[in-house]
């Protein structure tokens, strides 16, 4: 994908003072950041720190209570629903932790990859199928398996299929919620490798939520550390991981097992 129509001197995605409450409790509070074209932002924190709430609000799955989300200058919180839906099936993509949430389990691999294409008006069966085979190849799934259902795939393959399904329309911004969760380490490593390649080649901007610091070390350019719904530290990945300032971040970094 080329980036010619994305302005490089303004952020692709800007979040200002985003707050989400669950009654009296805070989901996430006062989160602000900029995401630039081609940048990968990692969000880390322990369970219950508001990572997934934040991601849900950003992707429009949940309604935020306060703040602004600007995508290429347009406020997605006040945007009409049809427009937001068009955005989320063309320029945005969402990779779920559990591939079962992001895939149609009763539909073949080819149908899964083709769905977004058909949703934006592709009506030529041969072309759709060709694109699907191409994308299965890119995520290292053999083209022969195009007519198999995701049920017949291993966990790692399902996750790769979900990624293919999301990237087929060449989105600009990808939200990922623990994309490597539930996979064993060798499969994780290959998936991360694949993701890193795709992000580079397609010039994707990515917001990736994870509790695995190794994932952020490999993928993320910048890192946001969350605790109790607030951002407590924000900076370049290497800087945050090698020289953590906040007490909680120090704890988080030191609790990673060194093999």
């Amino acid at each position: 994908m080329t980036l010619h129509d994305v302005s490089l001197d303004q952020p692709l995605f800007r979040v200002e003072g985003l707050t989400k409450r669950y009654g009296q409790r805070i989901g996430c509070a006062d989160v602000s950041f900029d995401l630039w074209p081609g940048e990968v932002l990692g969000i880390v924190g322990e369970s219950g720190s508001g990572k997934s709430t934040l991601l849900g609000c950003l992707a429009g799955h949940m309604q935020a209570d306060e703040g602004k989300i600007l995508y290429r200058g347009r406020n997605t919180l006040t945007m009409p629903e049809p427009e937001r839906r068009v955005l989320s099936r063309t320029e945005w993509a969402f990779v779920h932790q559990n591939p079962r949430d992001g895939l149609r389990m009763g539909v073949s691999a080819g149908g899964n990859v083709g769905e977004r294409l058909m949703a934006i008006g592709a009506r030529h069966y041969g072309d759709i199928r060709e694109t699907a085979i191409d994308w299965l190849g890119r995520v290292e799934i053999s083209g022969e398996r195009i007519d198999d259902r995701p049920r017949q795939f291993s966990g790692g393959m399902q996750q790769r299929l979900q990624i293919a399904r999301n990237l087929v329309t060449s989105p600009r911004l990808v939200f990922m919620d623990e994309p490597t969760g539930g996979l064993d380490v060798s499969v994780q490593a290959r998936l991360l490798d694949l993701l890193r390649g795709l992000v580079r080649d397609m010039g994707l901007s990515v917001i990736i939520v994870t509790h695995d610091l190794a994932v952020t070390r490999l993928l993320a350019d910048r890192l946001m550390v969350m605790k109790d719904g607030r951002v407590i530290e924000h900076g370049l990945t290497d800087q945050v991981l090698d020289d953590p300032q906040a007490a909680y971040t120090q704890l988080l970094v030191s609790s990673v097992l060194q093999v």
């Binding site: 049809p82 769905e115 058909m118 934006i120 009506r123 069966y125 007519d147």
Partner: protein, 290 residues
């Protein structure tokens, strides 16, 4: 109880008025599913309670009613619904398509072209074309509202991937006036081309699902397909064995246990009319008018 104990056409006037409002709204927004307060009818769901309510709301004492079940006028469902309206509305009934002003149908559109002034009422089991793709009603309504119909093509894609062709042969989804995707009720896809540009008013009633939708005369209706796998209104590759018609939709009838079979028009009224005109087929009795 005497027949006079019923209001004309069984339903009370307030109910008919409610249904007519839903019908008018349906006609104003072709293909849109209008919710209505479906009543209990003296027959089980699945036997055409939706169609019967729509017919009851449309009938006037001067109307002539025809009832079709799978193309035939003489099967259980057709006979009992026709009797029902003979008793409760005392309307004239007919088996001839051209004579009827209101036609209630299950699973077929008559072969003879309908004319202006006729009303065709369909019995619909499941009005939601997206139901088996997306089980949540809240979600399918939103998909209709936002015109998100990519999923419908995923189903057709799956058909081609698995069978080499679009294997959906009845209840084939259509797009109405470039806007709503509609389930045409379980008519064979052979009948789909007759939905569009039809001179008659077409009304669809789903009793259990409490939905009414409609096609006004001369509405634009397109069957969904792919550019390289265009819609094909197929039928059995035979002529009718009784009337010789090569253009009508056929039923296959097994005639013995050694594999003999015959093909006959599914539209009985069309077939008997043609036979009366002297057309013959492969199995017509010999010696009769040729």
């Amino acid at each position: 109880m005497t027949e006079q104990a019923y209001n004309f056409a069984y339903l009370d006037e307030a109910t008919k008025r409610m249904i007519r409002r839903a019908l008018l709204k349906g006609l104003a927004i072709p293909g849109y599913q209008v919710p209505f307060a479906s009543r209990e009818m003296p027959m089980p769901y699945g036997w055409g309670t939706g169609g019967v309510q729509v017919t009851a709301a449309c009938l006037t004492p001067g109307d002539t009613l025809k009832v079709i079940d799978q193309g035939a006028d003489d099967t259980t469902n057709a006979v009992s619904i026709r009797k029902f309206f003979e008793r409760t509305a005392q309307v004239r009934t007919t088996e001839t398509t051209a004579e009827a002003t209101v036609i209630q149908t299950r699973h077929r559109i008559p072969e003879v072209a309908l004319t202006q002034g006729q009303i065709l009422v369909y019995q619909v089991p499941i009005p939601e074309p997206l139901r088996f793709l997306e089980p949540r009603e809240s979600e399918t309504r939103r998909m209709h509202a936002l015109e998100e119909y990519g999923l419908m093509h995923v189903k057709l894609y799956e058909d081609i991937a698995r069978h080499g062709a679009i294997a959906t042969s009845y209840a084939y989804p259509v797009k109405v006036e470039g806007r709503y995707v509609m389930d045409p009720s379980p008519i064979p896809k052979f009948d789909n081309p007759k939905l569009g540009g039809n001179a008659a008013i077409q009304l669809f009633g789903a009793g259990r699902e409490q939905r009414i939708y409609a096609l006004p005369p001369y509405t634009d209706v397109v069957s969904l397909d792919f550019e390289d796998h265009p819609f094909d209104p197929s039928k059995a590759d035979h002529a009718c064995d009784l009337c010789g018609s090569g253009a009508s939709y056929l039923d296959e009838v097994i005639t013995d246990d050694t594999g003999s079979r015959m093909f006959v028009c599914s539209d009985t009224s069309y077939c008997t009319t043609r036979q009366a005109e002297g057309h013959t087929g492969r199995l017509s009795p010999k010696g009769e008018a040729a």
